[in-house]
């Protein structure tokens, strides 16, 4: 089996510039329910991004939402902490990605403003799945460690 030269069709070249896209996976409320299905209420701990998951008065754990920068844009994620203070779940809530200069343009960023939970945030036309150089999740991993340090003792 020999290799043969491949030339992208002209139409494909025009259509594949700037794979900037964003995906909303879960709203905060949905992620809370999935992390603590038996919770009857989520009590805001006061700083706006941490909630105590409770079944009646019983503490089930802590649900924390945070944001880190990915390659160029923010990634929103949620961490569920069990009563022992250990991480029980990390879930990406919203993922935005872009390479290159278009990110700095206000008009490009404006696409994200005012999107509700149900809005379709897909930006890059029909780009849904990308195969290629692997994107590192290191910043999320570091964020989870920070959350553990800041909140781990609150559920113990």
């Amino acid at each position: 089996m020999d290799w043969i030269r491949w030339t992208a069709p002209a139409v494909a070249v025009a259509a594949t510039a700037a794979p900037a896209y964003a995906v909303q996976y879960l709203s905060v409320a949905d992620a809370q329910k999935k992390a603590f299905p038996s919770a009857t209420r989520f009590v805001d701990s006061g700083d706006g991004h941490a909630w105590k998951a409770q079944a009646g008065d019983k503490l089930l754990g802590l649900f924390v939402v945070d944001r880190v920068i990915g390659k160029h844009l923010y990634i929103d994620y949620a961490v569920a902490l069990a009563p022992g203070g250990q991480v029980s779940r990390v879930e990406i809530l919203e993922y935005r990605e872009s390479y290159g200069g278009d990110v700095r343009s206000p008009s490009w960023l404006a696409q994200f403003v005012g999107k509700s939970n149900s809005s379709n945030l897909k930006i890059g036309a029909d780009i849904r799945n990308i195969s290629g150089a692997t994107l590192s999740s290191l910043h999320v991993t570091e964020g989870v460690k920070r959350i553990l340090a800041a909140y781990g003792s609150r559920v113990r």
């Binding site: 089996m1 020999d2 290799w3 043969i4 030269r5 491949w6 030339t7 992208a8 069709p9 494909a12 259509a15 594949t16 510039a17 700037a18 794979p19 995906v23 996976y25 879960l26 999935k34 390659k71 160029h72 994620y77 990390v90 879930e91 990406i92 993922y95 390479y99 290159g100 029909d126 780009i127 849904r128 799945n129 990308i130 195969s131 290629g132 150089a133 692997t134 994107l135 590192s136 999740s137 290191l138 999320v140 991993t141 989870v144």
Partner: protein, 303 residues
Amino acid sequence: MAHACVSVRRARPLLGTFDEISVCGDDQSRIDRALDAAFDTVAKVHGLMSFHQADSDVGRLNREAATRPVSVHPWTFQVLQTALALHDRTAGLFDITIAPVLQDRGLLPRSRSDRGPGPRRIAMAETVALLADRRIRVRGGTTIDLGGIAKGFAVDRAADALKSHDIACGLVNAGGDLFAFGKHSHSVHIRDPRDPRRCLCRVDVAEEAMASTGIGFDPLRSVRTSGSAIIDPRSLQPVDRIIGATVRAASCMIADALTKIVMIDPTGASLLLDHHNASAMMVLADGEARVTPNWKGAASLAA
């Protein structure tokens, strides 16, 4: 009551990247259970085969298997078996003991006890021995890294987990190594290794796996691409003639491993691709793209 088919997408940070799973089905609670099982499976493979975690099978092998046989999980054993078979078939080009060279180049963390002289090269078949009862022995000074194959294996197992929860259609995508099953095809864009802002092409994948490898690109560090993470065992130098490879095969573990072999030796890889009924696309340093004749998609034969 009519059963509406819902499509659900979730992502979690696993395997050092973003692991995304999309499924469709008509029962939300079944979908939730299947997604949890699939992500748990990926986390389990990560826990077994991570180079960075001291308590993983790989961590234990690297610490203890030179002094006594180390028993590993059946999955780790299976991946090691496949890696050794590929090593044999490629006359040593696929090499899971190349880690010391990666460490020298700062691509893997160096453990405290591992400050010896530069890497020695010995044939892997002589350094890693698979024994009865899933026990492994390695020769002293050997470091195993399953990074070139374990991610694909994790994707395969996650797809199995979804199927065992009666999910008929889904896509598992761990940072570009993916597996699609079910009646729907999934549109996948392949990133241009010369310029990650662009996509090289779009292909439709259905009932198959696809994996891609490219030279490391870190826009935070340099406008230019940084060095390749694929080391040619013959020269111990990073591959620079090929800057990206994508392989489509029946299993993501095989596709993942074959991308590395294509990067190192495209001519020799073509027989192996044939053997696995796999197709491939590669991009040369000058930007020229080449495909195998069985590549499905918009191929142009301007040879």
